[in-house]
């Protein structure tokens, strides 16, 4: 790190709290972002000379507020003053210092900021892009690269998303318990979306998208710091850590997908696994199971197995059964069928996924799993058909290439030697 390299991480980590608080003051996302930007510029000038302030976040909020207020005052000479409720909480300067914001104070500010990004009218991709821009502070260029679109197209998308949420009128009062729980649920889902964008790489190279996974983990940890005793937030964070731990083994040198069974488990990140397992243990103590906790537990069972054949598939089967009860979905049943195949064999698994043909008619993995089961049962022709359907639905070259390997094998086996 360079001599003043310490400032960048401080600004980066202060961003959610500072913008969250500035948003509460100004009630305008653009204004909050601008104020933060200006405060960062002053920090870069001031901190190297005077050293870091005792509370960098409070410093950035105070400076951001003052700069923006000066700006409002300057403009007010030529334009009418904004309505009082547009610049709320602007008492004397003493109150901010007295505030000496602790994490419980930031909690609802950060949650509100995250929640604004998960407006239900926004398509998933826009939610993710908005959160990456506003909360994480990634540049439009970085986000555009992750989504494989041009910078101007991404700029447009983010601008549109912002104007959509500006009209949404998210209340600025401290939320009640039920409202807070609802926000927490929406935000957790959005963070999981960010992670999945990076993890499943729908249409991009995984290499480019790895930062999205890391960003999602950072957001999950932030949420967990604010809500340390929420079992589902523990579960979400554990899930992301355990999934991400396998990232180094998921693709081979040519960028082809390596399935769990074939992965070099020595490449798994043991630090992330240990942390994920520790969080699951904490969550379990609450005895309030939820979908994230169970998915994390499933990832945990895989992480415990040093070799694929050590995997406790019947435990995974049971965990999926619980998940099916809590959150019934054809995708969950499909995943359970993979475990059932290992425990009870391909015939049972195939019978289990047969009713899913209709709801999962457009789902790549359905045909991949189906083809695999048919192949195991020696029904080569049907397997070929299923794999063909899978290829047609593949999102990435790596997905298609993986299925093509199966097809090639089937073709080779069907040809007389």
């Amino acid at each position: 790190m360079t001599t003043f390299g310490w400032i960048d991480p401080v600004l980066r980590s202060a961003r959610p709290q500072a913008i969250g608080a500035l948003l509460r003051y100004f009630r305008d996302l653009d204004q909050a972002e601008e104020a933060f930007q200006e405060a960062c510029l002053r920090a870069l000038k001031n901190w190297p000379v005077n050293g870091p302030p005792r509370d960098p976040i409070a410093w950035l909020i105070l400076v951001g507020r003052n700069v923006a207020l000066d700006d409002v005052r300057r403009r007010s000479k030529s334009a009418p003053l904004p309505a009082d409720d547009a610049i709320s909480d602007l008492d004397d300067a003493e109150t901010d210092i007295a505030e000496r914001l602790d994490s419980s104070h930031y909690r609802d500010d950060v949650l509100r900021l995250l929640f604004i990004c998960c407006h239900p009218d926004l398509p998933a991709v826009q939610q993710v892009a908005l959160a990456l821009r506003v909360v994480s502070g990634l540049s439009v260029k970085e986000i555009a690269r992750a989504f494989l679109v041009s910078e101007s197209a991404m700029e447009q998308r983010i601008t549109r998303a912002k104007s959509r949420v500006a009209r949404a009128d998210v209340p600025f009062e401290t939320p009640g318990a039920i409202e807070r729980a609802e926000r927490l649920g929406a935000v957790a889902a959005m963070i999981y979306l960010v992670f999945n964008e990076g993890y499943s790489a729908s249409g991009g190279s995984v290499h480019v998208r790895k930062p999205l996974c890391e960003e999602a983990i950072r957001l999950a940890r932030l949420l967990l710091t604010l809500f340390p005793g929420e079992p589902e937030v523990l579960g979400l964070t554990a899930l992301l850590l355990l999934q991400h731990a396998r990232a180094p083994a998921r693709l081979d040198g040519d960028g082809a997908i390596v399935l769990l069974d074939d992965q070099d488990r020595r490449l798994w990140d043991r630090d992330l696994i240990a942390e994920g397992l520790a969080l699951i243990e904490k969550a379990v103590r609450h005895r309030r199971p939820g979908p994230y906790q169970i998915q994390a537990a499933i990832a945990g069972v895989h992480a415990h197995a040093a070799k694929p054949e050590d995997t406790n598939w019947s435990e995974i089967d049971q965990l999926y059964a619980t998940l099916e009860r809590l959150q019934p979905s054809p995708v969950v049943t499909l995943n359970r069928a993979v475990a059932v195949n290992k425990v009870h064999g391909p015939a049972t698994a195939l019978a289990m996924i047969e009713p899913l043909a209709e709801p999962l008619a457009g789902y790549f993995h359905f045909f991949g799993v189906k083809g695999g089961l048919l192949m195991q049962l020696g029904r080569a022709n049907e397997a070929r058909v299923a794999f063909g359907q899978a290829i047609a639905l593949a999102h990435t070259p790596a997905e298609a290439a993986h299925i093509r390997l199966h097809l090639d094998r089937l073709i080779k086996e069907s040809q007389p030697a």
């Binding site: 991480p9 401080v10 520790a278 243990e281 904490k282 103590r285």
Partner: protein
């Protein structure tokens, strides 16, 4: 005289480091600790998991188990044990055992990195 060096840092900042930045800090420190180790002056070095992985057991009356780190500023950190436990439950039980009849607070933190290099005595 033996000294304990307690590393204190803003965790949010620590968490926002990229893997490369984190590695760079470790590599930089390693140069120093390697020299100390060569002189036989380096004792165990411990890196803790984030405080989000912490559990706090508050003794005095009925023990209270809380998620998260011990955050009060009134009390100071006085020292720490490293104990091999099979599970979080066992760790909590052990803390209750050690702290019986005291008003002590134990923060139980899973250890991320343990480099048990002994002091040459």
């Amino acid at each position: 005289m033996l000294y304990a060096f307690l590393c204190c840092h803003d965790e949010a900042v620590d968490n926002s480091w990229t893997k490369e930045e984190d590695d760079a800090v470790l590599a930089k420190r390693h140069k120093v600790t390697e020299r100390l180790a060569a002189k036989g002056k380096l004792g165990p070095a411990v890196r803790l998991m984030p405080t989000t992985a912490a559990t706090t057991v508050r003794m005095g009356g009925e023990p209270v188990v809380l998620d998260g780190p011990f955050a009060e500023t009134k009390e100071a950190l006085l020292g720490f044990y490293l104990i091999d436990c099979d599970s979080l439950d066992e760790a909590i039980e052990t803390a209750k055992e050690i702290g019986r009849d005291e008003k002590v607070v134990f923060e139980i933190r899973p250890v991320k990195l343990f480099a048990p290099k002994g002091i040459a005595s």
